[in-house]
Amino acid sequence: MNNRDPFSSYHPVVNFLYFGLVLVFSMVFMHPACLAISLFCAVAYSIYLKGKKAIRFNLLVMLPLFLFAALFNPAFSHEGGTILTYLPSGNPLTLESITYGIAAAAMIISVITWFSCYNEIMTSDKFVYLFGRVIPAMSLILSMTLRFVPKFKAQIKVVSNAQKCVGRDASNGGILQRAKNGMTILSIMMTWVLENAIETADSMKSRGYGLPGRTAFSIYRFDKRDRAAIIYLICIGAYIIAGAALGGLRWRYYPTMKGIVFGAGPLSIYLAYFALCIMPVIINIREDRKWTALQSAA
């Protein structure tokens, strides 16, 4: 858990509700303004959380992915009323297929980025705390699966270092020998994974995990600050849902682009959506300011 991030110190319900709302809205709203807001806030938050690493990831992985996804659509869809030119195959290249490709790409990127932020904030203990009572088996499996990749990576380093000591690492010897060594390491890892999963399950069982009447230790307290945040999230979420249901975010890409852009209603929904998405960044900046103010005062 990143101590620098005050939003993650909120109650898990707040964290989960926030990410639930933001992810669902990002996936559902195809209005260009919503996509832009969601993408901007996701990138801003990921940079706040992970700093240089996030910038590098966004530029090296997300930008090419964005371009690829944006070009993918016009290559295969030729629907749309505004013909720009004709492709060598003879089918038209339309403005609508390009904009739809960009919109779909923005959606994919923002959802992926939101999930990368989610993984930073919603640690597995928070997840188990939230869902351990309702769906004990499911939440244990989920948290084990989510923990699997980082744990696997750490363990493979341990194993390969140990193998290196006896000269049997994947970096030792000729190409055939290296492949052989790599296979051995992989086989060790497989055994470890299976054993580890059973051990975890057994250990949880022997502790009475999921039995009725058992409580679990947690350090989460639902205080005033959390109540305010929950009320804020529910109000703003309800406003956005109501606005979208009333058609305030109507937008179509095919056959010609058309939709509601300006007006008091739509603008207030964009504003609400922005206020929702940017919430953790605002909270964090405010807390940071408070912290520096206290420090300089002392």
Binding site: E79, G90, P92, P212, P255
Partner: protein, 303 residues
């Protein structure tokens, strides 16, 4: 019982919630039978009276009134002659996308097993004498094409033809009258694309080079008239397949809809890239909402 309920309270609640969400999304996604614009045809009579899906019913009746699209008189006059048995066609009676075989059987059930009126059977001897290579085992040529009726041109493979400088003239038109009677099946976003009289490209004389196919002419003229047209090459049938013209695509008006073409009043039983044009040919592209039944081109080589 009480203990059981208490023990599995959460499991039951979660299951019910999941089922509810799934049901809601199914309904919201528009897959509920009532939302797709069709009546699950419980009885023939019910669907005739209730569904405004009359395909060839060109009289200004309740069906056109319900779609709220005024049909101009000349559109009605120039539409295909109506046939009694096709006056009311329940387009489909299912609440899920149909498979190809289901569509064919549905189309059969709509108007019996018959082809449209005036459709002739293919003639194997004639087609063979015209140069079609028919596989005796399947009764079709190498591109899955049945023999053509006698007197009709056989398919010409585009890769075997040379386009000369000799210029000919043919007549081309593109129209979608049948959609006017089925507007309720078309997404509202596309209503503006359907012309009031159903004419997308008015009948006009166009020139072509000898050796060119119906597809070449359609593509060039659509490009020239700035009308959107999308096609897909299907190697299996050695032809281009027209998916949409003027942003009106196949399946836009129900599961049985799409573009068809006829030359001199005949719906060829092969793709438009394989129909070589002759001077004076009349090429008509028409949109069907019922596998060709509403334009008189169902089962193009008879059955």
């Amino acid at each position: 019982m009480k203990n059981f309920l208490k023990k599995h309270k959460w499991k039951i609640i979660v299951t019910v919630l999941v089922l509810f969400v799934l049901g809601f999304t199914f309904w919201y996604g528009g897959n509920a039978p009532g939302l797709r614009g069709w009546n699950a045809a419980k009885s023939e009579a019910a669907s005739v009276s209730a569904s405004p899906t009359a395909s060839s019913d060109i009289s200004p009746g309740p069906s056109t009134a319900e779609t709220q699209v005024p049909v101009s008189p000349d559109a009605q006059a120039s539409a295909e002659p109506a046939k009694a048995d096709e006056s009311a066609v329940p387009l489909t009676s299912s609440d899920h996308p149909l498979s190809a075989s289901e569509k064919v059987s549905l189309a059969k059930s709509i108007g019996g097993d018959k082809s449209s009126e005036g459709v002739e059977k293919g003639n194997t001897d004639y087609s063979a004498s015209q140069g079609m290579t028919i596989n005796p085992n399947t009764g079709k040529d190498q591109y899955q094409t049945d023999p053509v009726p006698s007197g009709k041109p056989v398919p010409v493979e585009p890769q075997n033809t040379t386009i000369t400088d000799k210029v000919g003239t043919c007549t081309l038109s593109v129209r979608c009258d049948t959609i006017l009677n089925n507007m309720n099946l078309l997404s509202k976003d596309k209503w503006e694309l359907v012309p009031k009289d159903g004419v997308i490209f008015a009948m006009s004389a166009v020139s072509f080079h000898e050796g060119e196919s119906v597809f070449n002419v359609l593509q060039r003229e659509m490009k020239r008239a700035k009308i959107q047209m999308e096609f897909k090459n299907t190697p299996m049938y050695n032809s281009a397949y027209i998916e949409g013209i003027n942003n009106l695509y196949e399946f836009d008006v129900g599961e049985l809809s799409g573009w068809m073409y006829k030359v001199n009043g005949w719906f060829p039983n092969y793709g438009c890239s394989r129909y070589q044009l002759k001077d004076g040919d009349v090429v008509e592209w028409v949109y069907t909402c019922a596998l060709g039944k509403d334009v008189g081109g169902y089962c193009s080589v008879g059955s």
